[in-house]
Symmetry: C2
Subunit: 306 residues, 2 copies
Protein backbone atom coordinates (compact mmCIF):
# COMPACT_ATOMS: atom_id res chain seq x y z
CA UNK A 1 0.00 0.00 0.00
CA UNK A 2 1.45 3.42 -0.87
CA UNK A 3 1.80 6.17 1.75
CA UNK A 4 -1.23 8.46 1.88
CA UNK A 5 -0.49 12.13 1.21
CA UNK A 6 3.01 13.46 1.57
CA UNK A 7 3.43 13.15 5.33
CA UNK A 8 6.34 10.99 6.45
CA UNK A 9 5.33 9.73 9.88
CA UNK A 10 7.52 9.41 12.98
CA UNK A 11 6.58 7.55 16.16
CA UNK A 12 8.42 7.75 19.47
CA UNK A 13 7.32 5.67 22.46
CA UNK A 14 6.30 2.09 21.68
CA UNK A 15 4.70 1.03 24.96
CA UNK A 16 1.37 -0.69 25.54
CA UNK A 17 -0.44 2.19 23.79
CA UNK A 18 2.19 3.22 21.23
CA UNK A 19 2.83 -0.21 19.75
CA UNK A 20 -0.67 -0.87 18.38
CA UNK A 21 -1.05 2.80 17.38
CA UNK A 22 2.15 2.72 15.29
CA UNK A 23 0.95 -0.51 13.71
CA UNK A 24 -2.29 1.19 12.63
CA UNK A 25 -0.19 3.83 10.83
CA UNK A 26 1.70 1.10 8.96
CA UNK A 27 -1.54 -0.68 8.09
CA UNK A 28 -2.95 2.60 6.75
CA UNK A 29 0.01 2.79 4.35
CA UNK A 30 2.18 5.44 6.00
CA UNK A 31 5.97 5.29 5.92
CA UNK A 32 6.80 5.22 9.65
CA UNK A 33 10.15 5.83 11.34
CA UNK A 34 10.16 4.69 14.97
CA UNK A 35 12.13 4.98 18.18
CA UNK A 36 11.65 3.64 21.69
CA UNK A 37 13.79 3.10 24.78
CA UNK A 38 13.44 -0.69 24.55
CA UNK A 39 14.79 -2.61 21.57
CA UNK A 40 12.06 -5.27 21.53
CA UNK A 41 9.18 -3.07 20.37
CA UNK A 42 11.42 -1.34 17.81
CA UNK A 43 12.38 -4.69 16.26
CA UNK A 44 8.73 -5.78 16.30
CA UNK A 45 7.68 -2.64 14.39
CA UNK A 46 10.61 -2.88 11.96
CA UNK A 47 9.55 -6.44 11.20
CA UNK A 48 6.08 -5.03 10.42
CA UNK A 49 7.53 -2.52 7.94
CA UNK A 50 8.73 0.47 9.98
CA UNK A 51 12.20 2.05 9.79
CA UNK A 52 14.40 2.26 12.90
CA UNK A 53 15.21 5.94 13.49
CA UNK A 54 17.89 5.07 16.05
CA UNK A 55 17.18 8.15 18.21
CA UNK A 56 14.64 10.98 18.55
CA UNK A 57 16.91 13.05 16.30
CA UNK A 58 16.97 10.24 13.74
CA UNK A 59 13.18 10.10 13.74
CA UNK A 60 13.01 13.90 13.37
CA UNK A 61 15.34 13.92 10.35
CA UNK A 62 13.14 11.38 8.55
CA UNK A 63 9.66 12.73 9.42
CA UNK A 64 7.20 15.55 8.76
CA UNK A 65 4.74 14.60 11.51
CA UNK A 66 6.02 12.92 14.68
CA UNK A 67 3.73 11.19 17.17
CA UNK A 68 4.85 10.99 20.81
CA UNK A 69 3.30 8.41 23.16
CA UNK A 70 5.47 8.67 26.28
CA UNK A 71 4.81 8.01 29.98
CA UNK A 72 5.38 11.43 31.52
CA UNK A 73 5.84 15.15 30.76
CA UNK A 74 9.57 14.97 31.66
CA UNK A 75 10.01 12.24 29.02
CA UNK A 76 8.25 14.40 26.45
CA UNK A 77 10.45 17.37 27.29
CA UNK A 78 13.63 15.28 27.10
CA UNK A 79 12.75 13.74 23.72
CA UNK A 80 11.85 17.09 22.12
CA UNK A 81 14.47 19.40 23.55
CA UNK A 82 17.39 17.29 24.85
CA UNK A 83 17.50 14.25 22.58
CA UNK A 84 17.47 16.02 19.26
CA UNK A 85 13.88 15.81 17.96
CA UNK A 86 13.24 19.55 17.67
CA UNK A 87 16.76 20.21 16.33
CA UNK A 88 16.30 17.63 13.56
CA UNK A 89 12.83 18.68 12.39
CA UNK A 90 12.44 21.06 9.46
CA UNK A 91 10.28 24.19 9.83
CA UNK A 92 6.69 23.31 8.97
CA UNK A 93 6.89 20.00 10.82
CA UNK A 94 4.35 18.94 13.41
CA UNK A 95 4.89 17.16 16.73
CA UNK A 96 1.78 15.46 18.13
CA UNK A 97 2.06 14.75 21.86
CA UNK A 98 -0.54 12.07 22.61
CA UNK A 99 0.56 11.47 26.20
CA UNK A 100 -1.49 12.97 29.04
CA UNK A 101 0.28 15.98 30.48
CA UNK A 102 0.06 19.37 32.04
CA UNK A 103 -1.79 21.99 29.92
CA UNK A 104 0.52 24.76 31.15
CA UNK A 105 3.62 22.87 29.95
CA UNK A 106 1.95 22.10 26.62
CA UNK A 107 1.39 25.83 26.05
CA UNK A 108 4.95 26.70 27.06
CA UNK A 109 6.54 24.09 24.80
CA UNK A 110 4.30 25.03 21.88
CA UNK A 111 5.44 28.65 22.18
CA UNK A 112 9.11 27.64 22.23
CA UNK A 113 8.71 25.36 19.19
CA UNK A 114 6.71 27.98 17.30
CA UNK A 115 9.85 30.15 17.26
CA UNK A 116 11.50 27.45 15.11
CA UNK A 117 8.45 27.10 12.87
CA UNK A 118 7.47 23.77 14.40
CA UNK A 119 3.90 23.10 15.56
CA UNK A 120 3.19 21.15 18.74
CA UNK A 121 -0.28 19.65 19.02
CA UNK A 122 -1.39 18.33 22.40
CA UNK A 123 -3.58 15.38 21.50
CA UNK A 124 -4.22 13.06 24.45
CA UNK A 125 -6.53 10.10 24.07
CA UNK A 126 -9.31 8.34 25.91
CA UNK A 127 -10.08 4.68 25.47
CA UNK A 128 -7.05 2.97 26.99
CA UNK A 129 -5.06 0.07 25.58
CA UNK A 130 -8.23 -1.56 24.25
CA UNK A 131 -9.03 1.62 22.30
CA UNK A 132 -5.47 1.72 20.99
CA UNK A 133 -5.66 -1.88 19.77
CA UNK A 134 -9.17 -1.62 18.33
CA UNK A 135 -8.68 1.84 16.79
CA UNK A 136 -11.54 3.26 18.86
CA UNK A 137 -9.59 5.99 20.67
CA UNK A 138 -11.14 9.41 21.21
CA UNK A 139 -8.48 12.05 20.45
CA UNK A 140 -8.76 15.60 21.90
CA UNK A 141 -6.57 18.05 20.04
CA UNK A 142 -5.24 21.45 21.07
CA UNK A 143 -3.19 23.65 18.73
CA UNK A 144 -3.37 25.40 15.35
CA UNK A 145 -6.03 24.16 12.94
CA UNK A 146 -3.51 24.15 10.05
CA UNK A 147 -1.21 21.82 11.98
CA UNK A 148 -4.12 19.54 12.82
CA UNK A 149 -5.02 19.31 9.14
CA UNK A 150 -1.49 18.03 8.40
CA UNK A 151 -1.66 15.50 11.23
CA UNK A 152 -5.29 14.47 10.78
CA UNK A 153 -4.75 11.58 8.33
CA UNK A 154 -2.46 9.97 10.91
CA UNK A 155 -4.89 10.60 13.78
CA UNK A 156 -7.78 9.23 11.74
CA UNK A 157 -5.74 6.05 11.25
CA UNK A 158 -5.33 5.61 15.03
CA UNK A 159 -8.69 6.64 16.52
CA UNK A 160 -12.42 6.81 15.92
CA UNK A 161 -13.11 10.38 16.97
CA UNK A 162 -10.82 13.40 16.53
CA UNK A 163 -12.10 16.63 18.11
CA UNK A 164 -10.28 19.96 17.73
CA UNK A 165 -11.03 21.47 21.13
CA UNK A 166 -9.02 24.71 20.89
CA UNK A 167 -5.56 26.27 21.04
CA UNK A 168 -2.43 24.81 22.60
CA UNK A 169 -3.17 23.19 25.94
CA UNK A 170 -6.87 22.68 25.15
CA UNK A 171 -6.32 18.99 24.42
CA UNK A 172 -4.63 18.48 27.78
CA UNK A 173 -7.39 20.46 29.55
CA UNK A 174 -10.02 18.30 27.87
CA UNK A 175 -8.17 15.17 28.96
CA UNK A 176 -8.08 16.56 32.50
CA UNK A 177 -11.88 16.99 32.33
CA UNK A 178 -12.15 13.44 31.00
CA UNK A 179 -10.08 12.02 33.85
CA UNK A 180 -12.09 14.00 36.40
CA UNK A 181 -15.35 12.54 35.08
CA UNK A 182 -13.97 9.00 34.80
CA UNK A 183 -12.58 8.95 38.36
CA UNK A 184 -15.74 10.45 39.87
CA UNK A 185 -17.97 8.06 37.92
CA UNK A 186 -15.91 5.06 39.07
CA UNK A 187 -16.33 6.27 42.64
CA UNK A 188 -20.11 6.71 42.17
CA UNK A 189 -20.52 3.24 40.67
CA UNK A 190 -18.39 1.81 43.48
CA UNK A 191 -20.48 3.47 46.19
CA UNK A 192 -23.70 2.28 44.54
CA UNK A 193 -22.60 -1.34 44.09
CA UNK A 194 -21.33 -1.53 47.69
CA UNK A 195 -24.66 -0.11 48.88
CA UNK A 196 -26.53 -2.74 46.84
CA UNK A 197 -24.33 -5.55 48.16
CA UNK A 198 -24.73 -4.39 51.77
CA UNK A 199 -28.51 -4.23 51.31
CA UNK A 200 -28.56 -7.81 50.05
CA UNK A 201 -29.39 -6.98 46.44
CA UNK A 202 -27.34 -8.56 43.65
CA UNK A 203 -24.83 -5.95 42.42
CA UNK A 204 -24.87 -7.70 39.05
CA UNK A 205 -28.60 -7.14 38.62
CA UNK A 206 -28.32 -3.57 39.87
CA UNK A 207 -25.66 -2.88 37.24
CA UNK A 208 -27.89 -4.44 34.59
CA UNK A 209 -30.94 -2.41 35.65
CA UNK A 210 -28.98 0.84 35.84
CA UNK A 211 -27.54 0.37 32.35
CA UNK A 212 -31.07 0.96 31.04
CA UNK A 213 -31.59 4.43 32.51
CA UNK A 214 -29.97 7.78 33.28
CA UNK A 215 -27.25 6.10 35.37
CA UNK A 216 -25.88 4.39 32.24
CA UNK A 217 -22.24 5.06 31.44
CA UNK A 218 -19.19 3.42 29.89
CA UNK A 219 -17.79 3.26 33.45
CA UNK A 220 -20.83 1.37 34.77
CA UNK A 221 -20.43 -1.01 31.85
CA UNK A 222 -16.65 -1.55 31.94
CA UNK A 223 -15.49 -0.68 35.46
CA UNK A 224 -18.73 -1.90 37.04
CA UNK A 225 -18.11 -5.28 35.42
CA UNK A 226 -14.56 -5.30 36.86
CA UNK A 227 -15.94 -4.61 40.36
CA UNK A 228 -18.35 -7.56 40.11
CA UNK A 229 -15.41 -9.80 39.22
CA UNK A 230 -12.90 -8.09 41.58
CA UNK A 231 -10.69 -7.97 38.48
CA UNK A 232 -8.19 -5.16 38.95
CA UNK A 233 -5.65 -6.13 36.29
CA UNK A 234 -5.13 -2.84 34.40
CA UNK A 235 -6.52 -1.21 32.19
CA UNK A 236 -6.02 2.26 33.54
CA UNK A 237 -3.52 2.24 36.39
CA UNK A 238 -4.20 3.93 39.73
CA UNK A 239 -0.70 5.47 39.68
CA UNK A 240 -1.35 7.15 36.32
CA UNK A 241 -4.79 8.35 37.36
CA UNK A 242 -3.25 9.79 40.54
CA UNK A 243 -0.78 11.69 38.35
CA UNK A 244 -3.70 13.01 36.30
CA UNK A 245 -5.63 13.88 39.48
CA UNK A 246 -2.73 16.03 40.63
CA UNK A 247 -2.71 17.86 37.28
CA UNK A 248 -6.48 18.41 37.60
CA UNK A 249 -6.22 19.70 41.18
CA UNK A 250 -3.35 22.03 40.31
CA UNK A 251 -5.26 23.37 37.31
CA UNK A 252 -8.46 23.88 39.30
CA UNK A 253 -6.59 25.66 42.11
CA UNK A 254 -4.81 27.95 39.64
CA UNK A 255 -8.14 28.86 37.99
CA UNK A 256 -10.10 29.23 41.23
CA UNK A 257 -12.46 26.40 40.26
CA UNK A 258 -14.00 24.27 43.02
CA UNK A 259 -14.29 20.50 42.50
CA UNK A 260 -15.63 19.36 45.88
CA UNK A 261 -16.75 15.85 44.93
CA UNK A 262 -13.67 15.17 42.80
CA UNK A 263 -11.43 16.26 45.71
CA UNK A 264 -12.75 13.28 47.67
CA UNK A 265 -11.96 10.95 44.78
CA UNK A 266 -8.49 12.45 44.32
CA UNK A 267 -7.79 11.75 48.00
CA UNK A 268 -8.97 8.18 47.50
CA UNK A 269 -6.57 7.74 44.55
CA UNK A 270 -3.72 9.02 46.75
CA UNK A 271 -4.65 6.59 49.54
CA UNK A 272 -5.00 3.65 47.21
CA UNK A 273 -1.61 4.33 45.58
CA UNK A 274 0.05 4.90 48.96
CA UNK A 275 -1.31 1.58 50.20
CA UNK A 276 0.40 -0.24 47.33
CA UNK A 277 -2.45 -0.21 44.82
CA UNK A 278 -0.67 1.91 42.21
CA UNK A 279 -0.49 -0.90 39.67
CA UNK A 280 -4.13 -1.90 40.03
CA UNK A 281 -6.85 -0.80 37.61
CA UNK A 282 -8.53 2.42 38.79
CA UNK A 283 -11.80 0.53 39.30
CA UNK A 284 -10.05 -0.70 42.48
CA UNK A 285 -11.30 2.56 44.04
CA UNK A 286 -14.21 0.35 45.11
CA UNK A 287 -11.90 -1.62 47.40
CA UNK A 288 -11.53 1.39 49.72
CA UNK A 289 -15.32 1.71 49.95
CA UNK A 290 -15.63 -2.04 50.53
CA UNK A 291 -13.01 -1.99 53.29
CA UNK A 292 -14.67 0.90 55.11
CA UNK A 293 -18.15 -0.59 54.69
CA UNK A 294 -17.25 -4.17 55.55
CA UNK A 295 -18.78 -5.80 52.45
CA UNK A 296 -17.36 -7.18 49.20
CA UNK A 297 -19.21 -6.57 45.93
CA UNK A 298 -17.74 -9.63 44.23
CA UNK A 299 -18.73 -11.96 47.10
CA UNK A 300 -22.33 -10.79 46.90
CA UNK A 301 -22.36 -10.92 43.12
CA UNK A 302 -21.22 -14.55 43.18
CA UNK A 303 -23.36 -15.64 46.13
CA UNK A 304 -26.51 -14.34 44.52
CA UNK A 305 -25.97 -15.72 41.05
CA UNK A 306 -25.42 -19.27 42.39
Amino acid sequence: MPARGSARAGFIGLGVMGRPMARHLLEAGFAVTVHSRSRGPVEELVAAGATDGGSPGGVGAASDVVILMLPDPPDVHAVIFDEGLAAALAPGSVIVDMSTGDPMLAREWAATLAERGIDLLDAPVSGGDVGARERTLSIMVGGRAEALERARPLLDAMGRRVVHVGDSGAGMITKACNQLVVASTIQAVGEALVLAAAAGVSPARVREALLGGFAASRVLEVHGRRMLDANYVPGGRVALHRKDARIISRLARKLGVVTPAFDIVADALESLADEGGGDLDHSALVTLIEAESGVLVADRAQAQEE
Copy 2:
Protein backbone atom coordinates in the same frame (compact mmCIF):
# COMPACT_ATOMS: atom_id res chain seq x y z
CA MET B 1 -58.00 -4.37 20.46
CA PRO B 2 -58.91 -7.00 23.05
CA ALA B 3 -57.26 -7.06 26.49
CA ARG B 4 -54.17 -9.24 26.60
CA GLY B 5 -54.33 -12.11 29.07
CA SER B 6 -56.80 -12.05 31.92
CA ALA B 7 -55.35 -9.16 33.96
CA ARG B 8 -57.72 -6.27 34.52
CA ALA B 9 -55.45 -3.25 35.04
CA GLY B 10 -55.84 -0.46 37.57
CA PHE B 11 -53.89 2.79 37.58
CA ILE B 12 -53.75 5.31 40.43
CA GLY B 13 -51.79 8.57 40.10
CA LEU B 14 -52.10 10.32 36.75
CA GLY B 15 -49.36 12.94 37.01
CA VAL B 16 -46.64 13.81 34.53
CA MET B 17 -45.37 10.22 34.64
CA GLY B 18 -48.61 8.33 35.24
CA ARG B 19 -50.63 9.87 32.42
CA PRO B 20 -48.49 8.64 29.51
CA MET B 21 -47.89 5.30 31.26
CA ALA B 22 -51.62 4.64 31.64
CA ARG B 23 -52.10 5.58 28.00
CA HIS B 24 -49.54 2.94 26.97
CA LEU B 25 -51.62 0.33 28.82
CA LEU B 26 -54.72 1.39 26.88
CA GLU B 27 -52.80 1.35 23.61
CA ALA B 28 -51.58 -2.19 24.41
CA GLY B 29 -55.20 -3.28 24.69
CA PHE B 30 -55.65 -3.56 28.45
CA ALA B 31 -58.92 -2.69 30.18
CA VAL B 32 -57.78 0.06 32.56
CA THR B 33 -59.65 1.51 35.55
CA VAL B 34 -58.10 4.78 36.75
CA HIS B 35 -58.13 7.17 39.68
CA SER B 36 -56.26 10.40 40.44
CA ARG B 37 -56.66 13.35 42.81
CA SER B 38 -57.29 15.78 39.92
CA ARG B 39 -60.33 15.39 37.67
CA GLY B 40 -58.61 16.63 34.49
CA PRO B 41 -56.29 13.67 33.93
CA VAL B 42 -59.06 11.20 34.82
CA GLU B 43 -61.34 12.72 32.18
CA GLU B 44 -58.50 12.70 29.66
CA LEU B 45 -57.87 8.99 30.24
CA VAL B 46 -61.58 8.14 30.20
CA ALA B 47 -61.83 9.89 26.84
CA ALA B 48 -59.00 7.62 25.67
CA GLY B 49 -60.91 4.50 26.73
CA ALA B 50 -60.26 4.06 30.47
CA THR B 51 -62.93 3.55 33.16
CA ASP B 52 -63.21 6.00 36.07
CA GLY B 53 -62.81 3.99 39.30
CA GLY B 54 -63.97 6.93 41.42
CA SER B 55 -61.66 6.07 44.32
CA PRO B 56 -58.75 3.77 45.19
CA GLY B 57 -61.32 1.29 46.48
CA GLY B 58 -63.23 1.54 43.21
CA VAL B 59 -60.07 0.80 41.24
CA GLY B 60 -59.29 -2.15 43.54
CA ALA B 61 -62.73 -3.71 43.06
CA ALA B 62 -62.33 -3.62 39.27
CA SER B 63 -58.69 -4.74 38.94
CA ASP B 64 -56.32 -7.70 39.31
CA VAL B 65 -53.10 -5.71 38.94
CA VAL B 66 -52.98 -2.10 40.16
CA ILE B 67 -50.19 0.32 39.21
CA LEU B 68 -49.38 3.18 41.61
CA MET B 69 -47.49 6.22 40.36
CA LEU B 70 -47.70 8.65 43.30
CA PRO B 71 -45.47 11.47 44.53
CA ASP B 72 -44.44 10.24 47.98
CA PRO B 73 -44.39 7.22 50.32
CA PRO B 74 -47.14 8.78 52.52
CA ASP B 75 -49.40 8.99 49.45
CA VAL B 76 -48.72 5.35 48.67
CA HIS B 77 -49.51 4.31 52.22
CA ALA B 78 -52.74 6.34 52.26
CA VAL B 79 -53.99 4.93 48.95
CA ILE B 80 -53.30 1.31 49.90
CA PHE B 81 -54.32 1.23 53.55
CA ASP B 82 -56.58 4.24 54.24
CA GLU B 83 -58.46 4.84 51.00
CA GLY B 84 -59.66 1.33 50.39
CA LEU B 85 -57.37 -0.19 47.78
CA ALA B 86 -56.15 -3.15 49.85
CA ALA B 87 -59.61 -3.75 51.29
CA ALA B 88 -61.16 -3.93 47.80
CA LEU B 89 -58.58 -6.21 46.17
CA ALA B 90 -59.19 -9.94 46.00
CA PRO B 91 -56.53 -12.37 47.28
CA GLY B 92 -54.09 -13.12 44.44
CA SER B 93 -54.08 -9.49 43.30
CA VAL B 94 -50.89 -7.53 42.73
CA ILE B 95 -50.10 -3.91 43.60
CA VAL B 96 -47.15 -2.45 41.67
CA ASP B 97 -45.71 0.63 43.35
CA MET B 98 -43.71 2.46 40.66
CA SER B 99 -43.01 5.57 42.73
CA THR B 100 -39.56 5.99 44.29
CA GLY B 101 -39.68 5.25 47.98
CA ASP B 102 -37.99 3.87 51.02
CA PRO B 103 -36.92 0.20 50.74
CA MET B 104 -37.65 -0.39 54.43
CA LEU B 105 -41.26 0.78 54.04
CA ALA B 106 -41.67 -1.31 50.88
CA ARG B 107 -40.67 -4.43 52.84
CA GLU B 108 -42.96 -3.58 55.72
CA TRP B 109 -46.00 -2.94 53.52
CA ALA B 110 -45.34 -6.07 51.45
CA ALA B 111 -45.37 -8.16 54.64
CA THR B 112 -48.66 -6.61 55.78
CA LEU B 113 -50.31 -7.16 52.40
CA ALA B 114 -49.00 -10.74 52.16
CA GLU B 115 -51.19 -11.58 55.15
CA ARG B 116 -54.23 -10.81 52.97
CA GLY B 117 -52.82 -12.74 50.00
CA ILE B 118 -51.97 -9.56 48.09
CA ASP B 119 -48.55 -9.08 46.51
CA LEU B 120 -46.80 -5.72 46.57
CA LEU B 121 -44.07 -5.24 43.98
CA ASP B 122 -41.76 -2.25 44.39
CA ALA B 123 -40.99 -1.27 40.81
CA PRO B 124 -39.51 2.22 40.52
CA VAL B 125 -38.38 3.52 37.16
CA SER B 126 -35.51 5.41 35.60
CA GLY B 127 -35.87 7.51 32.48
CA GLY B 128 -38.03 10.40 33.64
CA ASP B 129 -41.04 11.91 31.89
CA VAL B 130 -39.38 11.45 28.50
CA GLY B 131 -38.98 7.74 29.22
CA ALA B 132 -42.61 7.56 30.32
CA ARG B 133 -43.82 9.19 27.10
CA GLU B 134 -41.52 7.27 24.78
CA ARG B 135 -41.95 3.91 26.53
CA THR B 136 -38.22 3.69 27.21
CA LEU B 137 -38.36 3.43 31.01
CA SER B 138 -36.06 1.07 32.85
CA ILE B 139 -38.10 -0.72 35.55
CA MET B 140 -36.39 -2.28 38.60
CA VAL B 141 -38.61 -4.79 40.34
CA GLY B 142 -38.49 -6.18 43.87
CA GLY B 143 -40.89 -8.85 45.11
CA ARG B 144 -42.03 -12.42 44.37
CA ALA B 145 -41.25 -13.77 40.91
CA GLU B 146 -44.80 -15.17 40.57
CA ALA B 147 -46.30 -11.74 41.17
CA LEU B 148 -43.93 -10.19 38.65
CA GLU B 149 -45.04 -12.74 36.05
CA ARG B 150 -48.65 -11.58 36.52
CA ALA B 151 -47.67 -7.91 36.24
CA ARG B 152 -45.05 -8.30 33.51
CA PRO B 153 -47.34 -7.80 30.48
CA LEU B 154 -48.34 -4.41 31.92
CA LEU B 155 -44.75 -3.44 32.71
CA ASP B 156 -43.60 -4.49 29.24
CA ALA B 157 -46.25 -2.16 27.82
CA MET B 158 -44.83 0.80 29.78
CA GLY B 159 -41.04 0.37 29.63
CA ARG B 160 -38.16 -0.98 27.61
CA ARG B 161 -36.29 -2.92 30.25
CA VAL B 162 -37.78 -4.83 33.20
CA VAL B 163 -35.22 -6.30 35.60
CA HIS B 164 -36.22 -8.48 38.55
CA VAL B 165 -33.58 -7.40 41.06
CA GLY B 166 -34.68 -9.40 44.12
CA ASP B 167 -37.19 -9.66 46.97
CA SER B 168 -39.38 -6.89 48.37
CA GLY B 169 -37.45 -3.64 48.72
CA ALA B 170 -34.83 -4.62 46.12
CA GLY B 171 -36.44 -2.41 43.48
CA MET B 172 -36.34 0.60 45.80
CA ILE B 173 -32.72 -0.18 46.74
CA THR B 174 -31.80 -0.39 43.07
CA LYS B 175 -33.50 2.94 42.43
CA ALA B 176 -31.53 4.41 45.35
CA CYS B 177 -28.33 3.16 43.68
CA ASN B 178 -29.52 4.69 40.41
CA GLN B 179 -30.16 8.08 42.01
CA LEU B 180 -26.79 7.98 43.75
CA VAL B 181 -25.01 7.40 40.44
CA VAL B 182 -27.07 9.98 38.55
CA ALA B 183 -26.50 12.75 41.12
CA SER B 184 -22.77 12.03 41.41
CA THR B 185 -22.37 11.90 37.63
CA ILE B 186 -24.20 15.22 37.23
CA GLN B 187 -21.82 16.73 39.79
CA ALA B 188 -18.77 15.26 37.97
CA VAL B 189 -19.92 16.59 34.60
CA GLY B 190 -20.64 19.96 36.19
CA GLU B 191 -17.18 20.20 37.77
CA ALA B 192 -15.54 19.20 34.48
CA LEU B 193 -17.47 21.67 32.32
CA VAL B 194 -16.80 24.53 34.77
CA LEU B 195 -13.10 23.62 34.74
CA ALA B 196 -13.09 23.66 30.93
CA ALA B 197 -14.91 27.01 30.80
CA ALA B 198 -12.55 28.57 33.35
CA ALA B 199 -9.56 27.32 31.35
CA GLY B 200 -10.90 28.98 28.20
CA VAL B 201 -11.82 25.74 26.40
CA SER B 202 -15.26 25.38 24.83
CA PRO B 203 -17.42 23.27 27.17
CA ALA B 204 -19.43 22.20 24.13
CA ARG B 205 -16.37 20.71 22.44
CA VAL B 206 -15.22 19.11 25.69
CA ARG B 207 -18.60 17.43 26.02
CA GLU B 208 -18.38 16.24 22.43
CA ALA B 209 -14.85 14.88 22.89
CA LEU B 210 -15.70 13.15 26.17
CA LEU B 211 -18.73 11.41 24.67
CA GLY B 212 -16.26 9.35 22.60
CA GLY B 213 -14.35 7.82 25.53
CA PHE B 214 -14.61 6.33 29.01
CA ALA B 215 -16.23 9.53 30.34
CA ALA B 216 -19.30 8.89 28.16
CA SER B 217 -22.63 8.66 29.97
CA ARG B 218 -26.31 9.42 29.52
CA VAL B 219 -25.78 12.24 32.02
CA LEU B 220 -22.97 13.81 29.97
CA GLU B 221 -25.28 13.59 26.96
CA VAL B 222 -28.52 14.84 28.50
CA HIS B 223 -27.58 16.88 31.58
CA GLY B 224 -24.33 18.10 30.01
CA ARG B 225 -26.39 19.51 27.14
CA ARG B 226 -28.67 21.27 29.65
CA MET B 227 -25.65 22.87 31.35
CA LEU B 228 -24.37 24.24 28.02
CA ASP B 229 -27.77 25.85 27.46
CA ALA B 230 -28.35 26.79 31.14
CA ASN B 231 -31.70 25.06 30.63
CA TYR B 232 -32.98 23.97 34.02
CA VAL B 233 -36.64 23.40 33.16
CA PRO B 234 -37.30 19.93 34.64
CA GLY B 235 -36.87 16.94 33.84
CA GLY B 236 -35.84 15.57 37.19
CA ARG B 237 -36.57 18.06 39.97
CA VAL B 238 -33.98 19.00 42.59
CA ALA B 239 -36.62 18.65 45.33
CA LEU B 240 -37.37 15.05 44.34
CA HIS B 241 -33.71 14.18 44.02
CA ARG B 242 -33.10 15.66 47.48
CA LYS B 243 -35.85 13.40 48.80
CA ASP B 244 -34.11 10.43 47.15
CA ALA B 245 -30.74 11.56 48.51
CA ARG B 246 -32.14 11.47 52.02
CA ILE B 247 -33.42 7.92 51.47
CA ILE B 248 -29.96 6.94 50.15
CA SER B 249 -28.14 8.51 53.10
CA ARG B 250 -30.48 6.92 55.63
CA LEU B 251 -30.06 3.52 53.97
CA ALA B 252 -26.26 3.83 53.82
CA ARG B 253 -26.07 4.88 57.47
CA LYS B 254 -28.29 2.00 58.54
CA LEU B 255 -26.11 -0.49 56.65
CA GLY B 256 -22.78 1.03 57.71
CA VAL B 257 -21.88 1.84 54.08
CA VAL B 258 -19.68 4.87 53.39
CA THR B 259 -20.52 7.09 50.40
CA PRO B 260 -17.97 9.91 50.79
CA ALA B 261 -18.27 11.47 47.33
CA PHE B 262 -22.05 11.17 47.24
CA ASP B 263 -22.26 12.87 50.66
CA ILE B 264 -20.83 16.01 49.05
CA VAL B 265 -23.43 15.84 46.28
CA ALA B 266 -26.26 15.23 48.77
CA ASP B 267 -25.18 18.38 50.64
CA ALA B 268 -25.21 20.28 47.34
CA LEU B 269 -28.78 19.09 46.63
CA GLU B 270 -29.82 20.32 50.09
CA SER B 271 -28.20 23.73 49.51
CA LEU B 272 -29.70 24.12 46.07
CA ALA B 273 -33.20 23.26 47.31
CA ASP B 274 -32.81 25.54 50.36
CA GLU B 275 -31.78 28.40 48.10
CA GLY B 276 -35.03 28.10 46.15
CA GLY B 277 -33.87 25.74 43.40
CA GLY B 278 -36.18 22.88 44.30
CA ASP B 279 -38.20 23.14 41.09
CA LEU B 280 -35.16 23.30 38.82
CA ASP B 281 -33.83 20.30 36.92
CA HIS B 282 -31.12 18.49 38.91
CA SER B 283 -28.53 19.44 36.29
CA ALA B 284 -28.70 22.85 38.05
CA LEU B 285 -26.18 21.36 40.50
CA VAL B 286 -23.68 23.00 38.15
CA THR B 287 -24.92 26.45 39.18
CA LEU B 288 -23.44 25.98 42.68
CA ILE B 289 -20.05 25.10 41.15
CA GLU B 290 -20.32 28.05 38.76
CA ALA B 291 -21.16 30.46 41.58
CA GLU B 292 -18.24 29.33 43.74
CA SER B 293 -15.84 29.34 40.78
CA GLY B 294 -16.96 32.62 39.23
CA VAL B 295 -17.54 31.31 35.71
CA LEU B 296 -20.65 30.37 33.70
CA VAL B 297 -20.56 27.33 31.44
CA ALA B 298 -23.31 28.62 29.15
CA ASP B 299 -21.56 31.99 28.64
CA ARG B 300 -18.37 30.26 27.54
CA ALA B 301 -20.22 27.78 25.40
CA GLN B 302 -21.96 30.60 23.53
CA ALA B 303 -18.93 32.93 23.33
CA GLN B 304 -16.79 30.21 21.80
CA GLU B 305 -19.25 28.94 19.25
CA GLU B 306 -19.82 32.44 17.83
